[in-house]
Symmetry: C2
Subunit: 423 residues, 2 copies
């Protein structure tokens, strides 16, 4: 017997028929003798409708009222799920955030979970019930309803799993797991059995939008084993892991230690529409980076890759970084304004839009010499020019011309041994 | 300065534009120096949508989950109303039933309000805020959300008004007050300045569906002065009572003592599609009425008028009563089955569908001899045959042939002096 938290996202509960499909997954786990708590999102589209009404009421609305309105979406799904489960013979009841209670801070609209009292949930599960908890919301010390911000239901699920000490937190969504790369770019992509938290974090931040970064961070901190799996699989079919062995369908996101056979690289990701900006001959003095990126932060521009070379003689240097294409013009203007005001000294600003960032992610890279060199060779073999390189402990990224993007992904995917065995 | 509870029904908050219109009424009262608490229903159509989902999930659902789902409707409106009010410069915040708290019993789906703690609302109003309370819902001792049943928002408003000792509870709806009769039947109908609670109760139960009976009963018990008025009136227009004098637009429902100039009759109401059933030669013995109406109650048939004559010799009698036309066949079958089983003894059952019940209501009838006689004369003058008569202290009803229905209403309306002065 295991204790499982099962989380269903918006598309998985989009209407009553889909809620029933989701409930069949719950029934399978209960019939197998597991203790289950369910966490649900709002029906897909519902939150947007509610947010639309709030904005129509006033663009400058009180975040506390936004929360009161928007939290109603999950409340509806939780009640309906409890009804459907009971109808299938599984005793169930819904819990709103304040009923659990899920305590959060008072940052309305983007609250952080402070603490979850597991007493009620533990008691219900011990009694053979399936509690259904509203995701995305909690209650502040003030007694007011809070929401966690978009995608917060994943975070709720992980937090609930941590609180009830679940063996697993299954995230049911519309994809069936985490792939080595986007199968639309490389048909040889394969679904991973397991991926380490750190890798998933890098993958998530690089555009593999399967899980919210926040929920992965929380899972890592509390060592909650996450499974990404599809609601649309046949609930009654035999449970088979991605590699074909009996097991949990989907990708397990877990502690590195749990992954016996470590591959060097777990995935290759691609982010497009990255603009590159270079400041030439920046006067190199303490605080110059802070001045440059401070000027951009003031305009709410999010900077991604940053490269600063050591200056030859310690007097001037070049700083290059990337921003989304859509922020390119605004960024250049901000930097020119900063020069005009004397905040930064540099000779000129150059750059271009339309770059592609290709990254390889893998905890195995930490211990393997030559991994970076392999990458350069893989790209050089295809005649792809590298414009920018950044590295972290388990990830390296290169910026290249967009027309080579898919080619580069496929080359790296093959090079790091990620191609499907049968491909 | 007065303290006012303002309640807005579903059509008054059907969308954000209407919520804004409703908020302008609130602003007028606040600007006039009044303390205001607002009570809102769900957007019209919203509750039906939610109930639809619940029934689709399972026709045999847990009423507690029904409540959890359906209560979300008012939560949305309350938040939006608070946002719109704040946007107009009126400090406001929403309160869900459990936040006030509004304590109810645990009869989910049809809960009764046990107690409302006025502390929070009093405090907010004293601070110059407008609390916006979700109608229709509360919290049971178990900590679960309850709903009061259809039309419960009126009841919530009255209960809140009683708790905060409001001077007035204004029920904003899509009609502008209570009329002496249906203006579509008699163009000479006029809107009443005031009507006594008892009269309103009889009017409501007779089909003038302006206020839920329950809310009027509660208002009478707690002496809460109710005003029925229209949301669609221009909020900034001068406030004029129905008789043209300066005052509150709409009809005040209040204690009889507050109505200085008592008219004998306040209104004439009409209910159609009433079927008449007579049991002939019923064996007259103790418990016979209980046996007859028990047989009907077992089939969930609601009986309206009942007439039983004294039997000549104490051995047999006739019992006549009315049911909705739609229940006629079922009623006859139930009575025949009861005779077959020996539960009731009677010679035969006769009856017909399509009757019309015309009633006159007025507290003044209590003290005026001859009022009933007037009615018979009014109808006789028009050649209308009376099939059945029932009377209560402040109401008399007659059952007549449907083709005379409008004629009878107009005749009585004129006869009791209710015609508009200018008509």
């Amino acid at each position: 017997m295991a204790r499982i938290v099962m989380k269903f996202g918006g598309t998985s509960v989009a209407n009553v028929e889909r809620i029933r499909q989701a409930a069949r997954h719950v029934k399978r786990e209960v019939d197998a003798g597991n203790q289950v708590t369910v966490v649900v999102s709002a029906m897909s589209g519902k939150t947007n409708e509610l947010v639309g009404w709030v904005n129509e009421s006033s663009p400058l609305h009180d975040a506390r009222e936004y929360d009161a309105v928007v939290a109603s979406g999950e409340q509806i799904t939780a009640g309906l799920m409890a009804i459907v489960l009971s109808d299938m013979g599984i005793p169930s009841r819904s819990f709103q955030g304040w009923q659990v209670p899920i305590h959060t801070d008072d940052s309305h609209g983007a609250a952080r979970i402070v603490d979850i009292d597991p007493t009620e949930l533990d008691k219900r599960m011990a009694d053979g019930m399936v509690p259904v908890v509203t995701g995305f919301q909690g209650i502040a010390k003030s007694g007011r309803v809070t929401t966690l911000g978009r995608g917060g239901s994943d975070t709720s699920a992980v937090a609930v799993a941590a609180a009830v000490k679940a063996d697993r937190c299954d995230i049911y969504t519309d994809v069936d797991g985490v792939y080595t790369t986007d199968p639309r770019i490389d048909p040889k992509a394969h679904r991973l059995n397991k991926i380490a938290f750190e890798e998933m974090l890098e993958m998530a931040s690089l555009g593999a939008k399967v899980l919210m970064i926040r929920s992965v961070e929380m899972a890592m901190a509390h060592k909650v084993r996450l499974v990404v799996r599809s609601t649309f699989d046949d609930p009654e079919a035999p449970q088979v892991a991605p590699d074909g062995s009996p097991g949990v369908p989907g990708t397990l996101v877990c502690d590195e230690d749990e992954i016996m056979e470590k591959t060097i690289v777990s995935g290759v990701t691609l982010a497009r529409a990255e603009a590159k900006i270079t400041l030439r001959d920046v006067k190199d003095k303490p605080g110059v980076a802070a001045a440059v990126f401070g000027a951009l932060a003031d305009e709410s521009i999010v900077v991604d890759m940053i490269v600063q070379n050591i200056s030859d003689d310690g007097s001037v240097t070049d700083i290059t970084f990337t921003v989304p294409d859509s922020e390119y013009d605004k960024s250049v203007k901000a930097l020119e304004a900063a020069r005009a005001s004397g905040a930064i000294e540099y000779a000129r600003v150059t750059g271009s839009k339309g770059g592609a960032k290709v990254s390889v992610v893998g905890v195995g890279m930490r211990n393997h010499a030559g991994v970076a060199a392999w990458r350069f060779k893989a790209l050089a073999d295809k005649g792809i020019n590298i414009q920018l390189i950044t590295t972290s402990e388990i990830k390296t990224s290169v910026l290249i011309d967009d027309e080579y993007a898919e080619l580069a992904v496929r080359a790296l995917h093959t090079y790091y041994g990620l191609d499907r065995r049968d491909a």
